[in-house]
């Protein structure tokens, strides 16, 4: 986070307007792998006592002390041999996400000199409550523990919940613990922010699919870590990694994994697969591997460095020894140098950071829609920085596979990192609008997002299914003008439209509500959501409507005119002008979308509806897609 907040306009210190009193009363619940309580990012220095509303406890286990920053801790991980029962972070992940959302501002932080800057959360004055559900012992996070964490976090009166956990795909609500917990959180006015998943760039991989969850995709920022490789013939190629190891530019002999094995076939040897490399052939050399996956294998066999190839060269990772990950072309450059040189040599340099003009671009790994459980709800909702984020870490966990180092700050990548960025923005927003409901917070962030375009990256061909409404813009989100509200009863009606009836609905809603005939007939796409999405049959003409209602949260009165930008969709908005004469006044409108019919290979068409009063610009994506 040494650069991500500046990148999106949330400047450090006094350069950003804050409501410090309310911010200090804000509590962010972090459901993750626990926390490293001794980190400077979670120091309680300068904080007053916990907010009066706080109902939680500090039960972090032995040798675990809370403070006035880290005000709460609980753990739900099963008792396991060799693992102390505690809320302490054995994975580094929970410390990283907690500090991204609400960590103190800590100056002069770097990863061995790399990425130097001030690490801080979105709301440094806010408090943190930790709910540990993940541990290496269970190799992940148990869903019965996740549900218990929600049960406590809601009752403890946190203001927001950030959870960077998920499955490989969506599940029906009644079997999805994060959707269940988030529903009850929403009913109590608590917004849940969830990572979209890292199964991209394939479509229909987003696992967080409920409309009452705020689902976050990941993108890069304008700071990138690069690692140069200097070949013996003087040529330099640029690769990606966060390489803190200094080899002082010394060149070492190069060997290709394929020719460094005496026990495996070419295919496995090229990938430096475990058990393939012959230490006699790699010791003291730089090994070329067709994947970064097994770099630690090369290290174990005595290599001094590794050069790897990766298709998705858009992310730099930490490795346990010097590695540079090259694009296909650059990798082939090295291979052809090797094939044309008697004693090929090269040097892998220490990484450096560069200014990356092409940002934000959605990350290749970020999970994509369409939503497999509710086709007419666009997921992910929003995009935030997730690649190469430097934040707090736990010295109880290695910064990379087979790494002997231990650090208090590290670089991590994933939608796990973008999720707490949005949690920080949501909390920032809430300090200016404490009474806003979860859906209003979500709407404000979505309708004021930076537009992202499909053209800037090879992985963006999924456009809104990749980046949702666009990239979060914290400053604009404070003044959205209009918001799309969806209350608990709107969501109950939504569930009626999905045939949740009788017993289930009554039990979930907790009151004797049952579906009216009209609700049962309601279409999911008519949930008052800040984006509009519809799945249609391929190759058939379509004409469909979306019903929406906006609430005025701008100045007293405003006249908003509708404008539709974007492509091939025929869109009609009625009425085209909304007169909102007072604060909190609501106005409804319909959007009618028609088209000739999507060819099966034409995945989708999208446009944007913008309501503007000359000051505010309330932008919503409209997406129509066909599946075979």
């Amino acid at each position: 986070t040494t650069t991500s907040w500046n990148f999106m306009g949330l400047k450090e210190g006094k350069r950003t307007k804050r409501n410090n009193l309310v911010e200090s009363d804000t509590i962010i619940g972090v459901i993750d792998s626990g926390i490293y309580p001794e980190s400077d990012s979670f120091s309680g220095k300068g904080f007053g006592p916990p907010p009066k509303k706080w109902r939680g406890v500090c039960k972090g286990g032995r040798n675990f002390t809370c403070n006035n920053k880290l005000i709460g801790a609980r753990y739900y991980t099963p008792k396991l041999e060799g693992f102390a029962e505690s809320a302490r972070d054995n994975m580094g992940h929970g410390s990283h996400t907690a500090s991204t959302a609400a960590g103190n501002a800590v100056k002069h932080v770097s990863f061995y000199g790399l990425g130097n800057g001030t690490v801080r959360g979105g709301v440094p004055a806010a408090r943190i409550a930790v709910y540990k559900v993940c541990d290496p012992g269970v190799n992940g996070c148990t869903t019965d523990g996740i549900l218990a964490a929600f049960d406590d976090a809601i009752a403890d009166k946190v203001d927001l919940i950030t959870i960077s956990i998920g499955g490989d795909n969506g599940s029906p609500f009644e079997a999805d613990p994060i959707a269940i917990g988030a529903f009850h959180a929403m009913a109590k006015g608590i917004l849940t922010i969830n990572s979209a998943g890292n199964s991209g760039p394939q479509s229909s991989t987003v696992a967080s699919i409920a409309p009452w969850i705020f689902t976050v995709a990941a993108s890069n920022t304008n700071r990138a870590f690069v690692t140069k490789v200097v070949l013996g013939n003087g040529k330099t190629v640029v690769g990606r990694s966060v390489n803190s190891f200094e080899l002082n530019g010394r060149k070492h002999p190069l060997v290709y994994g394929q020719s460094a094995s005496s026990s495996c076939g070419d295919a496995s040897a090229r990938f430096c697969s475990p058990g393939c490399l012959d230490s006699k052939l790699v010791k003291g050399k730089i090994v070329l591997c067709d994947s970064p996956q097994n770099a630690d294998v090369a290290q174990a066999m005595g290599a001094v460095a590794s050069i790897a190839k990766s298709r998705n060269g858009d992310v730099a990772s930490i490795f346990s020894f010097p590695v540079s990950v090259l694009s296909e072309d650059e990798y082939n450059t090295v291979l052809s140098y090797m094939n044309s040189t008697k004693n090929p040599k090269a040097a892998v340099l220490k990484s450096e950071t560069i200014f990356n003009q092409k940002a934000p671009v959605v990350a290749s790994y970020s999970s994509r829609g369409p939503n497999t459980i509710i086709p007419d709800i666009l997921k992910p909702d929003i995009t935030a920085p997730g690649s190469e984020i430097l934040a707090a870490y736990s010295p109880d966990a290695p910064p990379s596979k087979s790494d002997t180092r231990r650090v208090k700050y590290s670089v991590d990548t994933g939608t796990s990192m973008s999720c707490p960025h949005v949690a920080g923005v949501a909390a920032y927003l809430k300090t200016f609008h404490p009474s806003w409901s979860p859906s209003m917070i979500q709407s404000a962030i979505m309708t004021t997002a930076w537009p992202m375009s499909a053209s800037t990256s090879p992985f963006n061909e999924m456009a809104e299914f990749a980046y949702g409404a666009g990239h979060v813009d914290p400053i604009a989100a404070v003044h959205p003008g209009l918001v799309y509200e969806a209350t608990k009863s709107d969501h109950i009606a939504f569930l009626c439209g999905l045939n949740y009836t009788g017993k289930n609905l009554r039990l979930i809603s907790g009151d004797s509500s049952s579906c009216t005939k009209e609700q049962t007939k309601s279409l999911p796409r008519n949930l008052n959501y800040p984006s509009m999405t519809a799945q249609v049959s391929a190759a058939e003409p379509f004409k469909l409507t979306f019903h929406r209602t906006v609430t005025n949260v701008g100045m007293g009165n405003g006249t908003y005119k509708a404008k539709v930008v974007g492509s091939k969709l025929k869109v009609k908005v009625f009425p085209e002008v909304l007169f909102l004469k007072s604060l909190h006044m609501k106005k409804s409108f319909t959007v009618t979308v028609s088209g000739k019919g999507l060819e099966a290979d034409q995945k989708f068409v999208s446009a944007h509806l913008i309501w503007s009063d000359g000051v505010h610009s309330v932008r919503s994506p409209i997406v129509v897609y066909a599946t075979n």
Binding site: D32, S33, Y76, M91, H93, C134, V138, N139, G140, C141, T142, T143, D144, G145, I146, L147, A148, F150, D151, D152, I154, A155, S164, I165, G166, G167, D168, E174, A175, P177, I178, I180, G181, H184, A185, A187, K188, S195, A196, G197, N198, G414, T415, S416, C419, K503, N504, R506, L507, I508, S509, G510, D511
Partner: protein
Amino acid sequence: AENEQYKQVYIVYMGALPARVDYMPMSHHASILQDVTGESSIEDRLVRNYKRSFNGFAAWLTESEREILASMDEVVSVFPSKILKLQ
């Protein structure tokens, strides 16, 4: 027979907490478990209760016990506890 006795942790989701002030979630969960398992002590079965913000519990159950629970009026759904991943 072995299959029949195979147990795994299931989450029994019972929806929102009833508004009745006299409702005691933990004793309700215990009595449901005793009924379904036929065992008076549920200590080895119960993994945890959900009782503060919504209603339910997690327990070691066989498949047939799961089916009985899923059909009960006060139960919304019964599904296996799984391992999710950090992202």
